[in-house]
Symmetry: C2
Amino acid sequence: MEVILGVSNKHVHLTEEDYKTLFGDEPLGVVKELVQPGQFSSDKKVSIKTEKRTIDNIRVLGPLRSYTQVEVSKTDSISLGINPPMRNSGDLEGATEVTIIGPNGEVTKPCCILANRHLHINPNQRRTLDLLDVDKVKARIVNDKVTIFEDVYIKEDPNFTLELHLDTDDGNGSMAKTGDMIEIYK
Amino acid sequence: MEVILGVSNKHVHLTEEDYKTLFGDEPLGVVKELVQPGQFSSDKKVSIKTEKRTIDNIRVLGPLRSYTQVEVSKTDSISLGINPPMRNSGDLEGATEVTIIGPNGEVTKPCCILANRHLHINPNQRRTLDLLDVDKVKARIVNDKVTIFEDVYIKEDPNFTLELHLDTDDGNGSMAKTGDMIEIYK
């Protein structure tokens, strides 16, 4: 079956506490609704600082969450001089310490990961698409650089809608972009 | 069969004329021999400038060639705000104009491409490995992010030795690195 693709650039999720440290009492504004219901690209940006380098203009996604997390690509991580583990979003086991800098303050904590390839799906879609028996699928990009991505983790939640997420390394390497329809299979 | 992988970061090849414009009479020194016989990472770096941005510290590879060519990844090209075509090295049809800046001067010409995935091979190896009947192969990266790269172009020359070349988007996306042994097949 074909699903819509979202290519995720490096971005940040924040707890309410860390948001206040970084931005004070400014409200978190919505710039663009994302495909996953309730998720949005916000009007706030931060800098990420490591011993080697600082990268500016990294988008904060909303709404605020129960954890602070910085998601970068492997290419970004090499530029930053760090070696974060590949994780499911929300799993910060072994995450790399970085400093997040906002206009009002900064936060330093072990919160930087490489997000794994994943498929957002809700229980109904998972049943309908006959994916109850697997925890990973494959995705095939068809263009001048045909690429098969295995190890696409299934991420199920009643609030999700069907969407494949790749980071910019996988997306740019395979010349795939947000909005492309991508074949997935077991 | 398995072949050694080389992940190519963005780099520049120069003609003698353009080299002299950029570096004057300074000799082109060898920093490190590359896997392909006679090719080397040089002691010279340039900046690449577009309307949107300048990226510094881009390595010049040696020896000098009959064409000037800037090879970047899709991620680099987005950062530079350009949309170069995917090409075989040396095929500059439709290449994007960029400005190359050295300590002695600068050169502006349509010379920027995305290099395709390719396999360096010599005629003996191609015969031995039963690859005479194809012009492309596939490569399979096996790790926590299993990836199959199709559209790996065969690049044959008597001076070549067997080596798979991927750019940093494909290499970093699949967590593969220079020196890894990679399975290729028809």
